[in-house]
Symmetry: C2
Subunit: 133 residues, 2 copies
């Protein structure tokens, strides 16, 4: 009726009354849940990183939260850990194919927030999580 361009065809699984973890929307929000998460994903969208490179890129992010996020994103199938043998330990973090597909999602989030904020303030917001380059 309202006529959104995108077209989820008539979807059988759209009549629930509580936020179940099985809902695709909840799955995505769970993957991105928590502070710093989108920034970590954004950093990895630019390329694979080591732990210390991530710390360097996000200096205000504590060790605890960073490892929490990496574990969470690993659970969600977004990030892959590549541990290499030898000393000192070298570990690379990279997005999985599924993780790369978060690009358009972050883009959609960015677009709505950008439009909403320009309509409110008329100003450009200088910030952080833009998905691509």
């Amino acid at each position: 009726m309202v006529g959104h361009p995108a077209g989820l065809p008539d979807d059988p699984r759209a009549n629930v009354t509580a936020p179940t973890p099985a809902c695709p929307v909840e799955i995505t929000l769970a993957a991105l849940h928590g502070r710093w998460t989108t920034l970590v994903v954004r950093e990895l969208l630019r390329g694979d990183r080591s732990y210390s490179e991530l710390r360097l890129a996000l200096p205000m992010l504590s060790d605890k939260v960073l490892s929490d996020r990496l574990a969470q994103l690993g659970e969600a199938g977004v990030v892959e850990r590549d541990r290499r043998p030898g000393w000192p330990p070298r570990v690379r973090y990279a997005l999985t194919p599924s993780g790369h597909r978060l690009g358009p999602v972050l883009q959609a989030l960015w677009d709505w927030g950008a439009e909403a904020s320009t309509r409110d303030t008329g100003a450009e917001s200088s910030c952080a999580t833009s998905p691509l380059r």
Copy 2:
């Protein structure tokens, strides 16, 4: 390099190291933040609703959280309150134009979660927050 299809052209405001509330992505996530929020939006995407219609559609949602969410969505410019004179009090909630633009955002969240879950389980997830009919 990685080559995402969508194209945020080179965006000047993408080099920050902390999750500031001015970030468009943060703005959107803040608007959708918290449990039940996407389900309320989804319900309103189907048409305007009264308070009690929302309670009926989402029976497990408590009064406190419902009014919290409606206030939050009002603050975010997503939902508009239409109070009509007379007795008993009649109030209608409807999405603003900005709110309707959340349709594609929820669609993007749905799509990623749907693909991620089918690749994990091979099964269909029966759930809730699908944006459109």
